[in-house]
């Protein structure tokens, strides 16, 4: 059974999804993007980022790519831990589209004529 609000996104979820629209990203890169794009007004910390990524993955909005072996220098910098890239899925794109459509409808919403002022 598909719930009616199965595409509903919280603000951090939407933010993280938006970072993956152009190409796949990994955790630290997402954090950097949010800080840079918001001119340091938004700050997505590790304690938010990984639970959000985990949740988006579980809901099928993002898909982790296979961990590719990075360059020797990259592995040295990362303590021999590989990057895990995430890419947005079609379902994730649908969720973003729906959020945007709702926002646009709300912007142009004049309200019901029967509603008393």
């Amino acid at each position: 059974v598909v719930k009616q609000n199965h595409l509903k996104l919280s603000t951090p979820e939407e933010t993280v999804l938006l970072t993956m629209v152009v190409r796949q990203r990994f955790g630290l890169e997402i954090q950097d993007m949010v800080i840079e794009a918001s001119k340091a007004k938004w700050w997505i910390e590790f304690c938010t980022l990984y639970p959000v990524l985990h949740k988006l993955e579980r809901r099928g909005f993002i898909k982790p790519s296979k961990s590719e072996l990075g360059s020797e220098e990259e592995l040295l910098i990362r303590g021999n831990h590989r990057r895990r890239y995430y890419a947005i899925t079609e379902l994730g794109k649908d969720a973003l589209l729906e959020a945007e459509q709702i926002r646009q409808r709300l912007r142009g919403w004049e309200g019901s004529s029967e509603t008393p002022i």
Partner: protein, 161 residues
């Protein structure tokens, strides 16, 4: 020196699903701090802070998974006792809030250190969580195991009768 120690500690504390990527990210973030020329105390503080945030993330993920799945969580067994009982410690929460209030006041006093200040965004929740977890852990270790033994023995005796 700091990173290998943290790596080893975190590899026991983080859930399997984020372990490798999160450890890699914290290594890379530490390397960036070195490249930016941050001093050793700042690097150490920021990296330990991030490590604590990763533990918080791990607990949150394990907690959510526990809610979604009936078969349990993949949090390491020795950390399982951190999960369910924290919400019951109302008295400890009040003490935590007092500490948070002091920290917020303190953060106003050091507002010239803007780089460190931005890291204090989540400090209220984090400090509160750690105070609660610390106290509950102590309580668990001191009292919980005895209570479990007591219940087990009482049940055993009741069944024998």
């Amino acid at each position: 020196m700091l990173m290998p120690i943290l790596d080893r500690l975190l590899s026991h504390a983080l859930v399997e699903s984020i372990r490798d990527e999160a450890l890699g990210d914290i290594w890379e973030a530490h390397h960036r701090l070195i490249m930016e020329g941050r001093s050793i105390p700042v690097r150490t503080f920021v990296t330990i802070w991030r490590a604590l945030l990763l533990v918080c993330a791990s607990i949150q993920i394990a907690s959510e998974d526990k809610g979604k799945q009936s078969k349990g969580v993949d949090l390491p067994t020795h950390l399982l006792f951190l999960l369910p009982r924290a919400v019951t410690s109302l008295g400890i929460s009040v003490a935590g809030l007092a500490v948070v209030a002091l920290l917020v006041l303190h953060s106003f006093w050091i507002e010239d250190l803007s780089y460190l200040l931005c890291l204090f965004q989540n400090i209220d929740l984090l400090i509160l969580a750690f105070i609660i977890v610390g106290c509950v852990t102590s309580f668990d270790l001191a009292v919980g195991s005895r209570m479990v033994d007591w219940v087990k023995n009482a049940t055993k005796e009741a069944l024998e009768i």
